[in-house]
């Protein structure tokens, strides 16, 4: 079944205006949720197996249940930083249906006992931030935000907070640092944000798409949500498809849809009838796949088993005309540019590898360059303070490993 659920109404004109949204069933989920007990909502979301859609894929309900029921201020941070190259689904959700996200925020906050929620949105999405702020104002005017929401005694404020151009701020602890007015330097974990988060208080950080699914789960139930996807990975995903396909765009499909199907049946296949060379399945941080590997079902477990990750479900299609060195260069440039600089292996390693690849790309490769790149990437892998190290190392290792011959051919023998 490929009925749209989350993006079902996205083509309705002016859906971002609350009157249109309300006319079309909007805020029913909030009404229903506020009549439930918070613990019930957490259990339902756990049962639904809603996994994080930002990249890490951590089950949302379980994350929420880590927040201690203590009498301290608690916060929700919606991660709208969408920096993973190839990903644009959250832009889509927030510009087409900001109220769905707001509903999700209200329900999530109610479930965990949060009264102040931040939407950390990347600075480049200024226009979308403005749209969100207008929607929040509309919601407040209708009594869905502010004090004593719908007479239930539940208070919630939502603040839109803009980033300023740093991919690392998509990492949850760097996001917290940035929200506290500092450089986006990831924190050591433990402690985890659920116990020590924003301003040292218990905090939930969830991706836009994750939160946007919550109203659907409330309205239609966990069983329904689970049935859309896979046993431990419920619902649909919004796949961002780009690169050399006929029809790039956002495709909402059940979790577990095979990658081949998404590319060839939905996105029209490789553009201009060319041959497929490689596919990045989950945003740039997901190791590259070869044409023979694209029958993989797009759910967290399956892609992991195939040696990559579902990540942000951003699919980048690469055809035979693209020299793989170009892909490798973009990867190394990106991570060295985005490294926050805190920890030794990432700060120096990503830059070192990029210097080698730049040299290779300009025709000045040396005999042992590939060996060096592999050695250095292996020294970054698993050794860094935050996941950006692996996000750089694993894709680099996959490209070198799977396209060794093509890269070797660039080097003197």
């Amino acid at each position: 079944m490929n009925e749209k659920v989350l993006s079902r109404q996205f083509d309705l004109p002016h859906l971002h205006k609350i009157d249109v949204y309300l006319e079309n069933g909007g805020y029913e989920a909030v009404r229903k949720a506020l009549r439930l007990r918070p613990e019930e909502i957490v259990e339902e979301v756990k049962k639904a197996s809603l996994r994080g859609r930002g990249g890490a894929g951590f089950p949302a309900g379980i994350k929420w249940s880590f927040v201690p029921r203590v009498d301290k201020p608690k916060y929700l941070c919606v991660n709208a930083d969408e920096g993973e190259p190839g990903t644009f689904k959250d832009r889509y959700i927030m510009s087409h249906n900001p109220h769905l996200l707001i509903e999700g925020i209200i329900i999530t906050s109610y479930a965990v006992g949060i009264h102040l929620a931040f939407i950390y949105i990347r600075g480049e999405y200024e226009k979308i931030a403005q749209r969100l702020e207008k929607a929040i104002e509309e919601a407040r005017n209708k009594g869905f935000l502010g004090r004593n929401i719908l007479g239930t005694g539940f208070d919630l404020e939502v603040v839109v907070h803009r980033g300023a151009g740093a991919y690392i701020c998509g990492e949850e602890t760097a996001l917290l640092e940035s929200l506290e007015g500092k450089r986006g330097h990831p924190r050591l974990k433990p402690p985890f944000p659920a116990s020590v988060g924003l301003f040292q208080m218990p905090t939930v950080i969830n991706n836009v798409e994750t939160v946007a699914n919550v109203p659907l789960i409330i309205l239609n139930g966990a069983d329904w949500f689970l049935s859309l996807g896979q046993p431990k990975d419920g619902g649909t995903r919004l796949f961002s498809v780009s690169g050399m396909v006929e029809r790039p765009g956002v495709y909402e499909l059940p979790v577990g849809t095979p990658l081949r199907k998404i590319i060839f049946d939905y996105a029209g296949g490789v553009k201009n009838g060319r041959k497929l060379k490689a596919v990045i399945p989950g945003g740039m941080s997901a190791p590259i796949l070869l044409p023979e590997e694209i029958d993989v079902p797009m759910d967290c477990e399956s892609v992991m088993k195939r040696g990559s990750m579902l990540g942000s479900a951003a699919i980048i299609v690469i055809d035979e005309t693209v020299p793989i060195i170009e892909v490798l260069s973009k990867v190394t440039k990106f991570y060295s540019h985005e490294s926050c600089g805190q920890c030794t292996p990432c700060r120096i390693g990503t830059s070192w590898i990029h210097k080698i690849v730049k040299r290779m790309a300009s025709g000045q490769g040396r005999k042992d360059d590939l060996k060096e790149i592999e050695r250095l990437a292996s020294q970054i892998k698993g050794r860094t303070l935050c996941p950006l190290g692996d996000a750089a190392a694993l894709p680099i290792l996959a490209i070198v490993n799977k396209f060794r011959a093509e890269l070797e051919a660039m080097l003197p023998q």
Partner: protein, 518 residues
């Protein structure tokens, strides 16, 4: 109390102990750069990664708290390789400055490379170029190419001095340490930054290009410049054959003392050491009509003891005035009391401590003498009781000025000088005071003697001599013991005191609790 195993050794440690600290207790050193015991773990250098049985990845020793039954390996191949790789990354972008870098010989990068590295350099790209001579304020220079981004400097200024002058600018490989223009590092603890910097990124202008670390010996002492009595190390030149350096002490460094100064010293204590080698009095001398005539100590003792004996016989020791200061050690003040106040019935003494100056809320006290508490404990009224000057004629004036003759408030001396019989000055430094007296004798400053002080918090600390006496300088306690023999006064009592330790033992025996004032 969890029991854990590190490298095969099983030890029991307190709840909440990190692997790094636990290893230290077991005598195992885990290399680390960004970690400093004064701050919470930073976790950015990645050098302290160790293997924990059952854990999928290597974990940080500095930040991981031990759990019952944890098995840690710090010497496995995986750990060794991880350490080598961190060192390799750091050295890849590190300038080859060792031959001109002041940190050579005490550089963590050098030391760790020797212990855990020893690999061939494989970096064949262009190193990042950054500014190498950034003045950080006061005495500090920053070389941005040498910086390994451990952020100890930034954190020191945020957590310890709470002045926060330094920050990290830019991002990634371009990261640099910097300050806001017009707001450089300008606090009284800036010198600690050069000490805690593990490499030669932050260096001290005071030490720049002067000597090499391996030419210096280091001996512990206490700082005598205020009443905190911080633990210090005095670092002095070993001496080169046939080369006259003219300078012994090249720097003062802090010494760890959890009860007093933790890991730090203030800039006043750090940079005030030149007096140890400059402007010293070499030997005793007498001033006759403004002309200097050298004396031997023996001669000096004979002359002084004659004068004291003469007054004692005529029961005129009331004509003796003693000028003291709170830089004298407990042992010396004890002897002053026993010998002068009690045995010789000298009642006219005054303390002429330098005036108080501004203290801070951390280490530096307003009092600029080390042992006022000691003097009080031994029963002295440390106020300057200038009224004693007018009580009677002054036939003999003994000024004990320690290292403070420039600073002692002795304005009353000049007008009275002609009316005073014989004037003796015991000091380590030359000063204008020397012109106003008849006899000058050199004493050893704190760095050159042993003794004990009681600091502002009432803590008593003993110390040993760090340097040899300059010229013919002698410690005040030795002078007093010799004087007791010469006069003679109860030598059976005083003759036992062949070291400050012996004096301390006597003080303990005599249950030194002085509540009455003499």
């Amino acid at each position: 109390m969890p029991k854990i195993t590190i490298d095969g050794q099983t030890i029991e440690v307190a709840e909440g102990t990190t692997i790094l600290k636990a290893a230290g207790q077991a005598g195992i050193d885990i290399p680390h750069l960004c970690y400093h015991p004064a701050f919470p773990p930073e976790g950015s250098c990645r050098l302290c990664l160790v293997e924990i049985e059952g854990a999928p990845k290597l974990e940080l020793a500095c930040a991981t708290v031990v759990r019952e039954g944890m098995v840690v390996k710090t010497q496995s191949e995986k750990v060794k390789e991880a350490r080598r790789s961190v060192l390799e990354f750091l050295l890849a972008e590190h300038p080859l400055d060792c031959p001109i870098c002041d940190k050579a010989g005490e550089c963590q990068l050098q030391d760790y490379y020797e212990l855990y590295g020893l690999f061939e350099s494989r970096y064949r790209e262009t190193k990042e170029k950054k500014e190498k001579l950034v003045r950080l304020g006061r005495h500090l220079l920053l070389d941005r190419e040498r910086c390994i981004q451990c952020t100890r400097c930034v954190r020191f200024l945020l957590e310890i001095t709470r002045t926060g002058e330094l920050g990290v600018f830019e991002r990634g490989i371009k990261s640099i340490i910097g300050f806001y223009e017009g707001e450089p590092v300008d606090n009284n603890y800036s010198g600690n930054l050069a000490e805690i910097c593990p490499v030669g990124a932050i260096t001290d202008l005071d030490f720049r290009f002067k000597t090499r670390r391996w030419l210096l010996d280091s001996r512990p002492s206490l700082c005598p410049l205020c009443s905190r009595n911080c633990a210090i190390n005095i670092e002095f030149h070993r001496g080169l054959a046939r080369i006259e350096l003219g300078q012994r002490v090249f720097r003062i460094r802090s010494r760890e003392n959890p009860q007093v100064n933790q890991y730090w010293i203030c800039d006043l204590g750090r940079y005030s050491y030149r007096y140890l080698d400059e402007n010293r009095i070499d030997r005793p001398y007498q001033l006759v009509n403004g002309r200097r005539m050298n004396l031997s100590w023996e001669k000096l003792f004979i002359l002084l003891s004659e004068k004291i004996r003469a007054l004692r016989i005529r029961k005129k020791t009331s004509r003796i005035v003693l000028v003291l200061n709170s830089a004298l050690t407990n042992e010396e003040l004890f002897l002053m009391r026993r010998l002068f106040l009690e045995e010789l019935a000298v009642s006219r003494f005054i303390f002429c401590d330098p005036p108080e100056e501004k203290g801070d809320s951390f280490l530096l006290t307003a009092e600029r003498v080390p042992n006022r508490r000691g003097a009080e404990k031994i029963g002295f009224d440390v106020k300057s009781r200038e009224e004693v000057l007018g009580e009677d004629k002054i036939d003999l004036l003994l000024i004990f000025a320690a290292h403070l003759p420039e600073k002692m408030p002795l304005n009353w001396l000049s007008p009275l000088a002609s009316q005073i019989g014989a004037k003796f000055l015991f000091a380590s430094q030359e000063s204008k005071l020397s012109q106003l007296v008849d006899f000058v004798a050199p004493v050893t400053p704190v760095a050159e003697k042993a003794g004990s002080f009681i600091n502002v918090d009432g803590l008593m600390q003993s110390f040993e001599a760090a340097l040899n006496p300059w010229g013919e300088s002698r410690p005040e306690w030795e002078i007093l013991v010799n004087l007791a023999r010469e006069i003679p006064v109860n030598y059976r009592y005083f003759g036992r005191f062949n070291s400050p330790r012996a004096i301390r033992e006597a003080m303990a025996e005599e249950k030194l609790i002085m509540s009455e004032r003499p």
